[in-house]
Subunit: 207 residues, 2 copies
């Protein structure tokens, strides 16, 4: 089974790259699909889950292991539900035994045992702001400063979440096979070549 994981800075085009890469390789693709599935299994609202995920869910372990027992708050219970459900879903995906691309979810860490090909997608702030602005709806007015703040918030959530489950630092190149700077880059231009690099790596490393 061949797995590509895609870590990405918010608004760097990582999701687009992941989706196109899956199409190019003929792999299944998982990203938002996982949120939808968590919603089904936990009966929590999909937007709520997405927003918790964006903030970087960090369940407070003291709740259960601290000296003073405190019953977890409603929000904490939900966070734990989301995380547990996410793990189950990723296990189920692996259980299918089919090649796939997965975006986010610290999947490079969770799936380490399956030797995935790990990508990290990043860009300079200017190009992330442009990419983010291009996706804003007509009714969403945001200044560059507001967009930058949002990007930094989301990324710091991702970093905190990853650092909770791994020693490796989020976005540290050592954790990835290939790090792609998408500034000044049209993603669809490079997807076939990134796919070639992944294919060549799988040929050597996945029997």
């Amino acid at each position: 089974m061949r797995i590509v994981t895609v870590g990405r800075e918010f608004s760097s085009g990582g999701r687009e790259l992941g989706k196109r890469l899956a199409d190019e390789l003929g792999f299944a693709y998982y990203d938002r699909e996982i949120i939808t599935e968590i919603a089904k299994r936990t009966e929590l609202d999909e937007h709520y889950i997405a927003s918790r995920a964006e903030q970087g869910i960090i369940p407070d372990c003291n709740v259960t292991f601290g000296r003073t027992f405190a019953y977890p708050s409603f929000a904490q219970q939900n966070d734990i539900k989301i995380l547990v459900s996410e793990r189950h879903i990723i296990n189920d995906i692996v259980g299918l035994g089919k090649d796939f691309v997965i975006v986010g979810r610290s999947a490079d860490v969770l799936l380490r045992a399956y030797k995935p090909f790990n990508l990290f997608v990043y860009a300079d702030m200017k190009s992330k702001i442009e990419r983010c602005r291009a996706r804003l709806g007509e009714n969403e007015q945001m200044s560059d400063k507001q967009i930058e703040k949002k990007i930094k918030q989301i990324d710091s959530g991702r970093a905190r979440h990853r650092e909770l489950i791994s020693n490796g630092k989020w976005g540290a190149k050592e954790c990835y096979n290939l790090c792609i700077n998408t500034s000044d880059t049209v993603i669809k231009d490079i997807v076939p070549f990134v796919a070639d690099i992944a294919r060549s790596w799988f040929e050597r490393n996945i029997k």
Copy 2:
């Protein structure tokens, strides 16, 4: 003019990748050639220059600008000669107006005005030790620990040298267009695809 710069961790295969990439793209290639040319122009010994370069030349500015004037030592004079000569040679290469690949020399910083495509090549320590061992001569006996120490020494010299001339940190992915982890990778397998990514980037960005 299209320029590819290759930064690399010692023994990560960056030089091989740079050379093969130049062949693949039909670009000129500069690496050791620069050391040879410095030797010619400064009349210093080539091995001496290579060894100073490996240690990360940092001319002591206090020599000329400090409060107490001290005549620079012989070694310091040589370091300054080497650095000045290196800049001249790189300018001469640019003056030729031909596409080229350049390895090391913090060329991504020195050539920033020409908008180069910047690569960084790295690998995990295990694979760097293996790569280094494979290149050792029959009479060079080194333990893994000794090799690791050498790798770290050389890389810290490179980092110091780069940080002297730039705000960007050596090896920080933000400074590069693409960062390639060569662990578990046969370099010649991926060169054509790295060349494709560079070509596609040049098409969009270099008129």
